[in-house]
Symmetry: C2
Subunit: 423 residues, 2 copies
Amino acid sequence: MSDFNFKIEKKLPNNLGRAGTYSTPHGDIPTPAFVTVGTKATIKSLSPEQVKKLGADVVLANTYHLYLQPGHKIVQGAGGLHSFMNWNGPIMTDSGGFQVFSLGAAFGSNVSKIASDTDEVCTDTEGGHCKLATIDEEGVTFKSHIDGSSHRFTPESSMQIQEALGADIIFAFDECTSPQASEAYQREAMDRTHRWAQRSLDEFHTLQEIRNKKNLPQQALFGIVQGGRHKNLREESARIIKEMRITSNNSSRAESGKVDTSGREFDGFGIGGSFNKEDMYSVVGWVNKILPEDKPRHLLGIGEPADIFGGVENGTDLFDCVAPTRVARNGQLHTKDGKINITNAKFSKDFSPIESDCECYTCKHYTRAYISHLFRAKEMFASTLASIHNLHFMVQLTKDIRSSIIENTFDTFKEEFLRKYIK
Amino acid sequence: MSDFNFKIEKKLPNNLGRAGTYSTPHGDIPTPAFVTVGTKATIKSLSPEQVKKLGADVVLANTYHLYLQPGHKIVQGAGGLHSFMNWNGPIMTDSGGFQVFSLGAAFGSNVSKIASDTDEVCTDTEGGHCKLATIDEEGVTFKSHIDGSSHRFTPESSMQIQEALGADIIFAFDECTSPQASEAYQREAMDRTHRWAQRSLDEFHTLQEIRNKKNLPQQALFGIVQGGRHKNLREESARIIKEMRITSNNSSRAESGKVDTSGREFDGFGIGGSFNKEDMYSVVGWVNKILPEDKPRHLLGIGEPADIFGGVENGTDLFDCVAPTRVARNGQLHTKDGKINITNAKFSKDFSPIESDCECYTCKHYTRAYISHLFRAKEMFASTLASIHNLHFMVQLTKDIRSSIIENTFDTFKEEFLRKYIK
């Protein structure tokens, strides 16, 4: 798979942190990297040019959302996600698993994005899993959060949808569990996730051979490690996903008799929920100690500034999170001294930028007074300016962490940043 | 007033149309020009760079809105509108009169933007004017549409507010009447508008002398012609506003004894409502035949594509209208074959641009299918892409009209455009 290449440039001496570059058919991703989220094939309120200019190197779109609206066949008809959404850099899609369980199954109920075992909507309380998503060995049946219609994802259909969407990096289909789930249920779900991972890997390679014949750019498949907050499960999952290979009778290359293991295993790894915040760094460390060093690792759906430091020093290369744009749309802006709410009265006459030393478009051209005015006036450009700043903040922070690894100043940088940010 | 200069480059032989250039301290406006509306110091859903790139040369912001929110003193504190909203090109502000009568006085009632004489909210039905705005000789008292608080505009305060906002081109304070108002009321309102115009002109010059001492860029003041749909009133109003000069005891220059009439009259003219659509071109023609040829004329709050042709051949140089962006946000897009609604099912699989020969950013990079998807998904970027296209359509149409005047092909261009557009 020469279209993808992960090169480690520098490792931290006292922990698992590393700086590298992940090359994809649509460009390089210097790592650690903060991946901007474009759920429905758009980074909310921003043009792709604005996303590029704020420093983002890679975008993650959501398979569940795009499958329901506009439908993966329409995205494919447009020539794939890159051309559909006018983003020529690297793109990832997730497997759909997380949204199936949080948005599809539990939408409108008392179940939060991390599904809980609320009695009113879930009967499988022992397992901590909401019954609105019906899981069987083959896959999961769920209801659309848009119109309540019934749909079904299997590992194979997740691969087919993600192949049609055409992102550079795609994820194996997994089951997301609640942090409240029992260890017994975590094991059951993890074992199933492993069987689904194998089917994802096999289907993926069949699809890649077809793409190859069509001269379409190759995709990379990341396997997902599950296992909740349990060390034994996480370590077992990391080992199994790490060692997983394409089923031989599924591979024409295997049939040729040549021993060529490249591309017959996962190209990278995702670390999925569920864990409580306080368990996160432990979980990430357990997993990354086992995963092969020469492949990229993505901590799914994380994080806040402190999480990036914790994730990096525990061996994570990629992060994605909707928080920077979601809180931006509510007027919450990141600063190196912590978050501020720009709609606060004191900012209405404040003619300084959000941060005087910030290099983003928003800070270079607009005052807190103007942004505050736009929010009060309910103007859409408020979200644009706030999202640019918050995304730049996270993307630049992760780039600064990368530089600190290369320059051997990670510990000092982390300490100084967090001392100011978390006051 | 050497900071402003209007140069006519070409006149149409068979009507009042002309192509020219209006120079301002913040750049040139080739005319005829379509002015983009940035009501609250932002062109809804667009960055100033996007506005510039779509071809817009000039922006109009609304005095009423900015007075209420964030307040003109805050805009002034930020260094004026140009720096507040990050638009370095020419800016206009209207007088506040139109919004006082339509939004302030009548907000939330049955009274539309063009106030009608609905019994429930208006007692002065004979005059066709809504009583929620209390007019006296000195000015008008009105209620904020935001919080119902009471406010008062006078010609002097309108000038003071507009001076603080710091646009290049500002308008005299006028009274907007309903097209349904009687001729008697139209005369009464017109006579008052003339007295307010004189007070606006006098106050404006006092303020400009102060600006001059502060080394702030000079502003231009446009007088507004009223008179409803009545030829006698419109012609009388055009003559009076055309001939109006600063009151001599208000001018230090006049006291110096020098005969210097430059800058002591209006720098340009606005043609205000009210008239029904079918009367518009007649009204504009009556007025522009009388107004001095060497000064720019702005048809306020108009128009649709056909209106631009009609306005131009009746001697109009400047147009502004919120319609292109307002309908864009509802998914209605201009094409040379008329408007389309992009949310229509047939566009969901249409991988062509809105218009294949359109040079706008939206048409260069996105398909109808993508824009249709964004509208269905209620994504903010839908409004951005649609607004860029519609504004570009109107701005470019007006530029093409300008070229047709210079190349002597106006009649053919008009006929061909309207035959396709109005099918």
